[in-house]
Symmetry: C2
Subunit: 262 residues, 2 copies
């Protein structure tokens, strides 16, 4: 949808795993070629974009290498980069350029498609010393045309950052749902926008998020440890009834968020 906007729309060809999905996808995206045969889907492609689950992306290099020309650039949309980039540089070489658009929602499937999903979102591109410069340029151009602003860093720096800014929030939202309403589900009926917003992402697909968490577990565990420290600080201040400490905890968070997020 995003690539069909603008004065020179792309020709988009989609691969979908299940044959049953082909007609559903075609109904939503009538201008796209849709197939559940990988060879048909990628035939003649000038760039290939891998948007399956993280483990499927990491495992897709060899079959892809057999059917696309050796010069075709390949990118992806996976949420953890070290493992994917290492695997695909082995099977595809320097024309694989890892990417992670920081866009999406708790929804999944073709019915969640939106043309403006990427508008203004940051896409983190993770080139390595092995990256082919022409492929890197093509991949940058692709994500920019989808609507993204670009950031670039190594796969390891990416995984450290998203552990904090994406994976930790998901983990916390899930824990918050349980701590808030698992003992008393009827409290859910009282929820205002605060609870809704803080927990929205917790309904995301658990199999995909399980892969993400395990692929990035060292960084995520470090982030969780920091969260525990901060929660512990607040708990101590509250236990001791220290109003100034409670306010200063809240003020530090509010100031930091206002300054860095806006």
């Amino acid at each position: 949808m995003a690539m069909h906007r603008g004065p020179s729309p792309w020709e988009v060809s989609l691969w979908t795993r299940r044959e049953a999905s082909v007609s559903a996808v075609s109904a939503v995206l009538p201008r796209c070629r849709v197939s559940n045969d990988l060879k048909t889907a990628v035939e003649g492609a000038e760039i290939v974009v891998l948007c399956t689950s993280p483990h499927a992306i990491a495992g897709s290099g060899r079959s892809l290498a057999e059917i696309i020309p050796a010069s075709t650039p390949v990118t992806d949309a996976g949420s953890v980069k070290t493992r994917i980039v290492a695997a695909l540089e082995v099977s595809l070489g320097g024309r694989f350029i890892g990417a992670h658009p920081m866009a999406g929602s708790e929804q999944s499937g073709i019915s969640a498609a939106r043309p403006d999903l990427f508008d203004g979102a940051v896409c983190i591109i993770t080139p390595t010393p092995q990256s082919n410069p022409q492929a890197l340029d093509r991949v940058r151009g692709f994500w920019r045309e989808a609507g993204c602003r670009l950031a670039e860093m190594s796969p390891a720096a990416h995984d450290k950052a998203v552990a904090r800014i994406s994976h930790l929030p998901h983990a916390v939202a899930a824990a918050l749902v349980q701590a808030a309403i698992s003992k008393n589900p009827e409290f859910g009926a009282l929820a205002g926008t605060g609870y809704r917003d803080t927990t929205r992402i917790a309904t995301g697909p658990e199999a995909m998020w399980g892969e993400i968490f395990l692929d990035n577990r060292e960084e995520l565990l470090a982030a969780i440890a920091d969260l525990q420290t901060h929660i512990g600080e607040l708990k101590n201040a509250l236990s001791r009834g220290e109003r100034e400490a409670v306010e200063s905890f809240l003020r530090a968070a509010g100031t930091l968020r206002a300054r860095e997020i806006g």
Copy 2:
């Protein structure tokens, strides 16, 4: 704004603490009477609604009792009810009916006013055996006309529920801001909608939230302890690399939220 909609708009009179605010408030709400003198503000009122900070609400009973007729119903919008209801039943008697509309945002001040703020939000009314039935009816009618759906429970039951559904999410959002970006503020530039939504409420006014947290600290501490337990569960599953346990943690949260919140 909410009370001025509909076929029979209310006459609304506002009290504001600072003289300097009178003209600013009048500019936003030209149909309201605005004064920084309490006696002028409440003169002739058929119902009085206390919307200041929790401690100011709890402390306002005696001066109010001196200037309004003994039968005028009084309600409030404070976030913790046990302390407020106890204090105001002493000074105002059974015509004080505690209430807590589960609406609002991280913004405060007159510039954040919106006519539809209460639409569809739950307002929790907290009557006690001491409550005057006529006052209770008037207060129910007021919040319903503001746009709220009503729920009723004791002040203690309210404080237990909102510790989970409102105060814990606020505490968690603040801790998450710090754990995610205090060491590396530059990660903030990568934030997508997930991080924005999970942390939005963390910029709320810290002095008010400090009062709320301390007034409800026993219940909030219990909620924080449960959060720590759930976070600990996830941490253990991740440390051990147990994919099924990680997925089942995420699935439990997603299922619970989808069922109870929608």
